[in-house]
Amino acid sequence: MVMSEGVAPPYLSRELEQPGKTRKGSTSSQRAGSRWGRRILTAFACLVYLYLFLPLINIIVFTFNDPAGRYNISWDGFTINNWLDPFKDQELTNAFIRSLEVAVLSISIALIMGSLVAIALARYRFTGSRGIEIFLVLPLTTPEIVLGASLYQLFLGRNVVFGFSTVVIAHVMFCVSFVALTVKARVRGFDWTLEDAAMDLGASPWRSFRKITFPLILPGIVAAALLSFALSLDDYIVTDFTKGEFTTFPIQVNNAFRVSFPPQVNVLATIVLIVSVLLLVLTSVRSEKGATR
């Protein structure tokens, strides 16, 4: 074992013996391996982050591009006009708004239904729960194209008119599973005796849910909401099959790509990016502050 100098082997480390102190990770940085190994790993990690962010940087940089033609793909000059007029492309803006509407509505429905499913699974033991869990996973592990195609056949066969409703139905469908599994993963560690304690102290079941259970599982629900928001806003394939005449932002971008790719696409995408990152930071700061255990 190669160990960096000055670090006592853990069996001599008194810190680990102290009860109540977190054991994992506290000094793990000294344990990852040799110093050179760690440096290489760190360098590699930075490269991976660069890889992850390269397209995002490209998207942001190209919000300042002044393209000569209809395609904002090559750098032609700097301008801030795109930011001064982010809603210039009417069709794009409408599609963007429709995307937000779809996301807000389908997530609201999915959050309620999904959280209830998660609570049922995390809180109760009942026959069939294992089957339900596998059933929940299936929509997420079914290729999107199959989800889209099967809904397409359903709606087509029942003479349902494609549009906002069908897109929302589809988005709710994959978000329910996602919310249920995400919330369940976070609620799994929830100590349900807290509810007993609340009722024992005179709180009605509703009050104990409102005062105790809900605030405590809220971070899980918020995380699920954020991620399914991204999921819904981002969805192309399922929407492609259920949209009919209705267009969402990604659909509009893809269709219009046959004809043009205006810088406003990047601007709107960047706005979503900034808002979501802010939300992410805000909620993680909040949950850090209200760290529950």
Binding site: G69, S74, F87, S108
Partner: protein, 399 residues
Amino acid sequence: MTKRRISTPSPTSQADLSRRKFLGTSGLALGGLALGPALLAACSSDSSGGDASSGDNELWFDNWTLYIDKPEGELYGKGGTLASFEEASGQKIKYTEGINDNNEYFAKIQPLLSQDKPIGPDIIALTFWMAGRLTTLGWVEKLPLDKIPNSANLIESLTKPPSDPTGEYSLPWQAGMAGIAYNKSVTGRALNSVDDLFDPAFKGKIGMLLEMRDTIGLIAMSLGIDLATPTFEKFQPAFDKLKEGVDSGQIRQFTGNDYVDDLEQGSFAACIGWSGDVVQLSASNPDIGFSIPESGGTLWFDTMQIPVGASNVEGAAEWMNYVYDPVNAAKITAEVQYISPVQGVQEELRKMGGDAAALADSQLIFPDASTLATLQSWGNLDEEEEALFDAEFAKITGA
């Protein structure tokens, strides 16, 4: 078929309006939450998705992007065709740019039309062959030709095309040619034959159009196959040649209008392209060239049709009549720079003077007799044949 002119976006501001609209609609969306389960029931009775059905007496025209004149960059700008039509007729018009691709648009409207439900627009502008398909399927209204006297101004050959032999279901919007577009800085020379596209020197740098009739049509003509009476059997050699080009890696990608970017960037040395696009591109980049191949180019046209269930047939007729007036047609041509179906536009352009007058001499807008002689239009494909063509083409393009 996608062939819009390249124009720099105009600095109109819809920001305020949009934001207000957004706040309003997101509130609605939240309210809709309470109705979650009701969505189930609602979706069966929805009149249409999106912003469907035009309002009272409003005429709705769904067209391709960048396919009408936009004075001062605004669609409804003063002096533009839309505004002057409203002024002249008292008819309100709603103009949308919802068509990006014939097949995609068909997939969008097919579920509705097959159930005899109105799709919303009163006029749609699909390409001739797709217009033919809609006609065959009985999904478009007979045009009230008696209310469109100006249709007499139309170029003869476009009034009763093979796709609409009686001429009762479609009228032309704009026409154009498909030929070879190339970037001289990459090719080093002007190209004027389809075989140049299969020159190994340009391996991996050749683009083809997803629009099957233009791609296969050009290749077929180079093999001496006549487009007027297409059968799958007859066209097999053209497909084989295309397939070989794909398999050998000669052909890089099949595209829509996005080839203009690839061409300009040099990702494509050459490709099959549309006349209007290239006219525009070459104006800013002298390296970009366009030619009708020796073996011939395709002549295509987009149509105006009234889908069944349209609520404003009267207004549609009024609009068609209006744009077939050479004076009005010339304004559109001056902007979109495709071939106008209306006779007398050339003279009107000359009268307008300036840049417009220069267009009157363009071979790509007013091809002379010898150019026209090399162009061919596709004959009608029946449903079965078309399915074979589409399936084979899809296999080659990788779908």
